[in-house]
């Protein structure tokens, strides 16, 4: 049973198309990353699923049923920014959230503990730093121990320690069997914690699936010789290389991750009578991968 299924959702703001026919499914128990640069429609999509925005067309299902408030009560959601009553304390804000979710108040101390805010439970929200506000929002998501959580840019405003803590928390929740939907523009964040990913760009779903399939890592071997044109002609059909490209100063060979042997390349060239004057192995950066995914659209 998919936790969330999105079918052909489009959303227009005036003449701007924020989402174009987006469809995908979030399987139960996955950590589902929605990846995209700023303004790609991630928050709009989650806003529609949470009924704070109205889709122009298309529909969606939660827990394989027609969505209703009852479903939203079962999902802990942090959308865009932490939204709380500025004049109320952390604990009073959580009382309101727990009341709306129809969960008991017994959880409040323990969720505050989990995000290290217990000592500040009686402080007003307006006195919190950005990172504390974000942590309070995550605490609110954890109320009632929901099976599904939606985090929109969960590490926004957090310091490196806070970021690591949130990632650990997400991994722990995943181990407990929870389903997590997470929007992020940070590629390495998605790579580190997600099992599935959907890539959005300018409102279009470019690709989606298992994170290992989408964000495949590649090795790149950089080589050059005194005559690169000659080198290209012999190396063009080097076995195992997924692609070979000539650049200004060197030639790049792509390999599936972990299958590159500079030694073999060197021997191969030497046996063909070419002596290399430069060899370097590097990992394809995720950013480059991301640009590659999004450049054709």
């Amino acid at each position: 049973m998919p936790i969330l299924s999105v079918e052909n959702i489009s959303k227009n703001y005036g003449t701007i198309q924020a989402l174009k026919n987006v469809s995908f499914e979030v399987p139960k128990g996955s950590v589902f990353g929605i990846l995209g640069p700023n303004g790609s429609g991630k928050t709009t999509l989650l806003g529609i699923v949470m009924d704070v925005l109205k889709a122009t067309s298309g529909n969606y299902k939660l827990f394989d049923e027609t969505p209703s408030q009852k479903h939203r009560q079962q999902i802990g959601t942090l959308l865009e920014t932490p939204n709380f009553y500025h004049y109320l304390s952390a604990v009073n804000n959580l009382k309101i959230a727990a009341g709306i979710k129809e969960k008991g108040l017994a959880d409040i101390d323990s969720v505050l503990e989990k995000v290290n805010l217990l000592q500040r439970k009686h402080s007003k929200f307006s006195t919190f730093s950005l990172g504390m506000k974000q942590r309070l929002a995550i605490a609110s998501c954890l109320l009632g121990d929901p099976e599904v959580m939606v985090f929109d840019e969960p590490t926004n405003g957090l310091d490196p320690v806070g970021i690591a803590e949130i990632r650990e928390l997400i991994k722990r929740l995943h181990k407990e069997g929870k389903t997590i939907i997470m929007a992020s523009h940070l590629l390495d964040e998605v790579e580190k914690v997600c099992t599935h990913v959907a890539v959005l760009q300018k409102g279009k779903l470019i690709t989606h699936g298992h994170v290992d399939e989408i964000l495949v890592n590649e090795d790149i071997a950089e080589i050059s010789a005194s005559d690169n044109t000659q080198l290209l002609s012999i190396i063009e059909h080097y076995p195992g290389a997924t692609s070979v490209k000539k650049h200004d100063q060197h030639i790049e060979l792509n390999f599936a991750s972990g299958t590159t042997s500079l030694e073999s390349i060197n021997r191969f060239c030497f046996e063909k009578g070419i002596i290399l004057n430069h060899m370097r192995l590097r990992k394809k950066s995720l950013e480059a991968k991301f640009f590659e995914l999004t450049k054709n659209n």
């Binding site: 806003g47 949470m50 009924d51 704070v52 925005l53 109205k54 209703s68 408030q69 009852k70 939203r72 009560q73 959601t77 959308l79 920014t81 939204n83 709380f84 009553y85 500025h86 004049y87 109320l88 304390s89 009073n92 009382k95 309101i96 959230a97 009341g99 709306i100 979710k101 129809e102 609110s140």
Partner: protein, 262 residues
């Protein structure tokens, strides 16, 4: 619904503006009644002729109308409270969070309407209590005659408070909603009303949205003089207009909140 009201109470009870404006209103209603009573007593002590011409306004049965009319000048206070409280939700984006956490859009807006009704009832109760207390100061004989004005005051308060809700939902920003509400209620509508009365023989100015409830409670003082100038209001017509307007305020508040992007 009880649960929804309990949650609204959590939001309200620690909101200082609620207590400040609420208590200010309650005190002002009583103070206005009491000051009116004292001024009248002191003035009328001076001459019997004046008492003959002016009549007493702060004893039964006229007390109901006098206190209601004076309080109608203070009714902007609960309306301001509603505007700050409701626009807070938009400013803090908690209107989104409430929906995200599991309220339906109807629940969110319906409980605000219930709040408007409850505040209007409390505002009216204070007017009734003040009328009775001051009425006993000015006279020995209690009388229900004229207590109809308490009901009219309730309709007036409900109407102002509902307009406040509508302005809040439409404008979303505190300053803007406050400013436009005050400008409309205390200036623009009177201006439009006077223009209409001047141009159109049927004098429709009295039937504009807020005027239609203002006019339910006519000027209560020196009645012996005013009744020669002023006609009795047409209550059937005023109440019909007030009902239609009230329906519109609430209908459009609900419609806006249920269909808009939040």
């Amino acid at each position: 619904m009880f649960n929804l009201i309990k949650i609204e109470w959590l939001k309200l009870k620690n909101y200082r503006t609620f207590w400040v404006l609420g208590i200010l209103y309650l005190v002002s209603v009583f103070a206005a009644g009491y000051i009116g009573y004292s001024v009248e007593e002191r003035t009328l002590e001076q001459s019997k002729e004046l008492r003959m011409i002016a009549g007493t306004s702060f004893s039964f049965p006229d007390i109901w109308q006098s206190v209601s009319w004076l309080s109608s000048l203070l009714v902007f206070m609960p309306a301001l409270l509603i505007i700050t409280f409701v626009t807070n939700e938009f400013v803090f984006k908690t209107h989104r969070q409430n929906i995200i956490d599991g309220w339906s859009r109807s629940q969110f807006i319906n409980v605000k309407i219930v709040l408007v009704v409850i505040l209007s009832i409390i505002a009216t109760l204070m007017v009734a209590i003040t009328s009775v207390l001051i009425g006993f100061l000015g006279s020995r004989q209690f009388s229900w005659e004229g207590s109809m004005y308490i009901l009219y005051f309730f309709i007036l308060a409900l109407s102002y408070n509902s307009v406040a809700l509508l302005f809040s939902v439409l404008l979303k920003r505190t300053g803007l909603a406050l400013g436009l509400f005050l400008a409309y209620a205390y200036f623009l509508e009177n201006l439009i009303g006077n223009l209409l009365d001047w141009k159109i023989d049927a004098k429709p100015g009295a039937y504009l949205p807020l005027n239609s409830t203002d006019n339910l409670i006519p000027f209560p003082f020196v009645k012996n003089v005013t009744k020669q100038i002023l006609r009795d209001p047409n209550y059937t017509l005023l109440l019909s207009f007030a009902a239609v307007y009230l329906f519109c305020y609430l209908f459009f508040s609900v419609k806006k909140f249920k269909t808009d992007d939040l």
